[in-house]
Amino acid sequence: MLNIQDSILIYDGSFDGFLTCVFQVYDLKLKRVLIQKDSESQASLFGKQNVVVADPVKADRVWKGLGKKTSNAGRLRIYYGFLSEKQGVENLLLRYIQYVFESRLPVDSDFSNPDVLELSKVAKSVGREKHRMEAFVRFRLTKDGLYFATIEPDFDVLPLISKHFKSRYADQKWVIYDLKRNYGLYYDLDKVEIINLTLPEGFDASKTSPDYFAVEEIEFQTLWKDYFDSTNISSRKNLQLHIRHVPKRYWKYLSEK
């Protein structure tokens, strides 16, 4: 339980903000800390609430410090874990980071430590979501020549998939928009930018309306669906296995369904 000596650090939800909290914990030698996003924090009778302002310089020092104690994969695990947005993940991350700094040996693969195991699992599920999005994003060609895709990923994976799509679709303009978090990536043939869109009134992302999309778009979707249907071999049908690969909640994006 919380008691009067506990400190509660409130931050803005950004990764820099979180790392600044970690900096604070070491700088002020705080014990028994709770880190919370400002959107999740509640006024509490217990503990001191401190609002921590994201500071890129401090965040960078923590990140560099981690670089000396752990491999690149180990640092990535922290970032992936953060993007899971799981409630309370900040505290798992803090314990993990403390273990990294304390331990003489690299802890990456010490799976018998519960925090290492837990975080590696969380990071893995974020990694899986990243791969799913790389696979299941479906671009549709709009009337003004833009390849447009919408997603609603379980975790905040847009920052992780940007590089993949940039190097793959270097010669077409594209947008991948996260409807859940209401922001997206826009590639303008040169660089990727973060954008917010106001979608037109009555826009239904699950439909390919000729008001917005190119004529040939509907044709290619039909061809793809036909193609997909003819790849099935009915004597090998195995629906159970299929659902394991493509969970039903992703079907709505896929034009072949």
Partner: protein
């Protein structure tokens, strides 16, 4: 594009291509350096899955299903009464590019029936690949079928554009081939394979000296065998496979359970079940050979010609070789860890990492994710309680099966994680 015409062709020519099970789109190193379209550096991505659980990562079609041959096991055979169609080179290019731009696919897998002659056919396959690479600046994945009997010059050009080339030997034994495809002979299959293998070796060694040497089939070669069409044994299949891996340095051999498509009396009749479990056991054996350090004759030999369908081949081997067990997970070397039933290569790796920190007990092993129901009879660890009874192989087998029945009855596909 005449939309309905294309639609019709696509249906026919995708349908005819689906019996080729290869779906790999990984292993290439082609990156997007010309600011073109596509990038094939990473792992292959499955963009969707068919209802029988196979990965869809490539647009897999035939250029045409007209064929001058009459191989009994093939839907495209001359004597089969089916609709025929042929794509134009440009049509295949347009479909590939437009599917790729929408993130439907990783690339193209183009095969063909043989019309007029081997070279005439191969020339058109190469023309598609050339157009994609040079005119469209396409860096996605291209897999071309090497047409048996095609000339060395064409195979060489094919390798410069394609990421992977494959020739399907289809029938594992010479006798089977004679029976089912009397017009064909092994040499025709092998000739383009040798050419490609030699070119790959040469390009690789040149690349070491001169960095600008172009890629030549960076994803290597593969082949496919049909299982259960010609009465062959598992030993014949896997020894052939082993021979092709070693002799032609193949990247992959695929095993495709025969799907009855003909009333020909030389073949299993229509309605015969596709041997999917057998297919899965063969893939497991293939993995044991390639990643687990097993020699093919340890698993299949004169006194053991067919795999046991009830248990996976590693468990089968362990049951025949109980003298190697139990293995102590805290001291055993990598090779021996890999031989414990229920322990996959990922777990082997994790065990080796984790035991540097502490001696491992059952709880650790369970968290690492080994399949305890099989593994527990074959290992000892830092826990005091382990299997002490002196069980015979048949006893062990029935004990293990009691706890795993539901699992082995499931129809498995080659794309499952095979040992987990």
């Amino acid at each position: 594009m005449g939309f309905t015409r294309i639609q019709e062709k696509l249906k026919i020519l995708a349908d005819a291509a689906k019996y080729d099970v290869s779906c790999a789109s990984s292993g290439s190193k082609r990156s997007n350096t010309n600011k073109g379209l596509g990038d094939a550096t990473g792992m292959g991505i499955c963009h969707s899955y068919t209802e029988d659980g196979r990965c869809v990562s490539l647009l897999k079609i035939l250029l045409t299903n007209h064929c001058i041959f009459d191989c009994a096991y093939c839907v495209t055979r001359k004597s089969n009464d089916i609709k025929r169609a042929a794509f134009q080179v440009q049509e295949v290019v347009d479909l590939t590019i437009n599917f790729y731009r929408r993130n439907y696919i990783e690339g193209l897998f183009l095969s063909s029936g043989i019309f007029k002659s081997a070279d005439y056919t191969m020339e058109r396959l190469v023309a598609v690949a050339r157009k994609l690479r040079t005119e469209e600046k396409f860096n996605g994945y291209i897999h071309l079928k090497s047409i048996p009997g095609a000339s060395d010059e064409l195979m060489k050009e094919a390798g410069l554009y394609a990421d992977r080339l494959s020739v399907n030997i289809e029938i594992p034994t010479k006798e089977g081939l004679k029976l089912l495809a009397p017009e064909k002979n092994r040499e025709d299959f092998i000739k383009p394979m040798i050419k490609v293998k030699n070119e790959i070796i040469q390009y690789k060694s040149e690349k070491k000296l001169i960095k600008s040497t172009p890629l030549f089939a960076p994803g290597g070669q593969s082949t496919q065998m049909i299982i259960g069409a010609s009465g062959e044994s598992d030993q014949q299949i896997m020894w052939t496979s082993n021979y092709f891996y070693k002799k032609f340095e193949l990247k992959r051999v695929y095993y495709s359970g025969y799907i009855p498509i003909s009333y020909d009396s030389r073949l299993p009749h229509i309605g015969t079940e596709v041997p999917m479990l057998r297919e899965n056991r063969l893939y497991q054996t293939d993995w044991l050979m390639r990643f687990y350090g097993f020699e093919v004759h340890e698993i299949l030999n004169e006194s053991h010609k067919n795999l046991d369908l009830e248990v996976d081949p590693k468990l089968g081997w362990a049951l025949r070789n109980l003298e190697y067990f139990p293995v102590d997970v805290n001291t055993a070397d990598r090779e021996m860890l890999a031989r414990i039933p229920g322990v996959g290569m990922k777990s082997v790796h994790k065990i080796i990492q984790a035991r540097r920190f502490r001696r491992l007990n059952w709880e650790h092993l369970q968290r690492i994710g080994i399949a305890m129901n099989r593994a527990k009879y074959f290992l000892v660890c830092a826990s005091q309680d382990f299997e002490r009874r002196d069980l015979t192989s048949p006893q062990l087998k029935s004990l293990i099966l009691q706890n795993t029945t539901s699992k082995y009855q499931k129809k498995l596909s080659p794309q499952l994680n095979l040992f987990e």
